[in-house]
Amino acid sequence: MSQRSSWTVTTSGDQPIHDVAKKLKEHGFEVGEVIAEFKSILGSASDDVAEAVKGVAGVADVQRAPKADVGPPGASITW
């Protein structure tokens, strides 16, 4: 079984986001937070599942959860 990663799914907005979340679950995508305001769904899945849900109706984009940082304490280069 491949390792699960965190993903951010952005929906197209032409379908109710909770319906899209339900379809993601049916594909094995573990839905975490549904941020309806941003038309986004946070969750985790294997790479295979993440690739598969790109074809789900209402899904506009699937990306690994974006990383943001400011560097470690005292870093010479932050953000």
Binding site: D69, P73, T78
Partner: protein, 452 residues
């Protein structure tokens, strides 16, 4: 030869065990108002060749002893579990937890100038916090009575453990710029505020909520005393900032009009309502989805200005773009740092619905590190003086992270000036009133942000 050490009484708590995370110990120290920089644990240095004998002596005293050789090089002190002591035979030093040390009166023994001739112990020293990135001398300046201590004196007795502790805190690197702003001390305000024409402004941000999504805030910092702070964490750690970056950014955007003593004014929206979303851990990194969750919280709480001095490389993230649009639709404005990689603007600043901020040097030239490309506006980012974690309280650092709260603070002043200046209208006003600079828009956008 053993050395006399601090005479301060050493308190103990559950946050002083051998395996206690550094962050937990530092938080406990802040909560008890302890500025001694002592963690409560002790470092026992064995005489040459006497480590094994020392370990046996610990065992005879009923101490549970862990051996560092049993752990991998990637383990931190937390791997020691419930042990009373962690011995590092390679360097002949043991760390003893606060409770175990108290039971064996190590605080008293640390006062002794010499150990018994037949003791395997050479010295017992209180362990102290080590702060990444700052020279010990810089930190020592914040402690009355310790000004004369040299870095070598400061480090004596616990250098051996410093690397292990630093591993808990993250990689140690020197900050890019840490030059005291002497001019600011003379004129009463930092160069950044003067360049943005903040001191003559009659606005103060009253009635405007400014969200700072970052590493949190030093909630007990005296410069924020009496200021109501709305806060929420999204990373599984208390809002209390143990990194410093969030405290620095909040200081610029919302710090006081007249800090105590000779401290220059460094804050802009001194009457603004502060909202702190801790979306980065004390290590300075986001946790799955924490940034988006924080953005949602800031929008839900109708923060007219949302300041984000954070980011990552790569192209625009659709979810960030949607977040920026949702904010604009709600009459709110998200302002984000372009980044310090001398490379194309990173995310979330590269989303078209989020205002991207570049950094300027004191001579108003683009900072060499400042990212470029999608840039809407620029702010002072080099050598910026603002709040830092106690006990240091203030620090001068650089980055687009520092430029962003200058824009956010000025945005709060503009928003206060007219109820019509919200969201996209506020974005446009900031750009329309920016001081034009003789550099490409891809470097400085509309120019240097100006206060109303």
């Amino acid at each position: 030869m053993a050395q006399r050490s601090s005479s301060r009484p050493v308190s103990t708590s559950s946050a002083q065990g051998v395996s206690s995370p550094v962050e937990a110990m530092f938080l406990a120290a802040l909560e008890r108002g302890d500025d001694s920089m002592e963690t409560g644990r002790f470092l026992v240095t064995f005489k040459e060749g006497a480590t094994e004998e020392g370990v046996r002596a610990f065992g005879a005293q009923g101490m549970r002893v862990a051996d560092a050789r049993d752990f991998s090089e990637n383990d931190t002190l937390e791997a020691a579990g419930d042990a009373d002591s962690l011995v590092m035979p390679e360097i002949g030093v043991a760390i003893v937890g606060g409770e175990a040390a108290r039971e064996r009166q190590m605080g008293i023994r640390a006062e002794m100038t010499e150990m018994a001739a037949d003791s395997p112990v050479d010295s017992i020293d209180p362990e102290r916090f080590v702060f990444a990135g700052n020279t010990p001398a810089e930190y020592l300046r914040g402690f009355a009575g310790l000004e004369s201590a040299s870095p070598s004196e400061y480090m004596r007795g616990f250098l051996a453990a410093a690397e292990t502790i630093a591993a808990d805190l993250g990689e140690v690197r020197r900050p890019r710029v840490e030059v005291p702003d002497e001019e600011a001390l003379v004129v009463g305000a930092t160069w950044g505020l003067i360049a943005c024409k903040v001191p003559p402004s009659t606005r103060n941000g009253a009635g405007i909520r400014v969200a700072v999504l970052d590493t949190g805030l030093d909630l007990g910092h005296p410069d924020f005393a009496g200021r109501p702070v709305l806060s929420k964490q999204f990373v599984g750690q208390p809002v209390q900032d143990l990194h410093g970056h969030g405290t620095h950014c909040t200081g610029t955007a919302c710090g006081p009009q007249a800090p105590a003593g000779t401290t220059p004014r460094y804050g802009i929206g001194f009457r603004a309502n502060i909202a702190i979303g801790k979306v980065l851990s004390n290590s300075g990194v986001s946790v799955d989805g924490s940034v988006l969750m924080g953005m949602r919280w800031a929008v839900a709480n109708r923060c007219e200005v949302i300041s984000m001095s954070l980011g990552g490389s790569g192209g625009p993230v659709p979810a960030y773009t949607n977040a920026g649009q949702a904010a604009l639709d709600a009459g709110l404005l998200i302002i984000a740092a372009a980044g310090n990689e001398a490379a194309p603007t990173g995310s979330p600043a590269n989303s078209p619905t989020i205002m991207s901020v570049a950094s300027l040097d004191p001579d108003l030239r683009p900072s060499s590190f400042s990212n470029f490309g999608k840039i809407e506006i620029a702010g002072p980012g080099r050598d910026i003086f603002s709040t830092w974690l106690r006990p240091l309280r203030y620090r001068t650092i650089s980055g687009t992270s520092m430029a962003t709260p200058h824009v956010a603070g000025c945005a709060a002043l503009w928003a206060q000036s007219s109820a019509s200046l919200r969201g996209r209208a506020l974005w446009q006003r900031l750009q329309a009133t920016a001081r034009r600079l003789p550099f490409p828009a891809t470097r400085v956008g509309a120019g240097l942000v100006q206060a109303p």
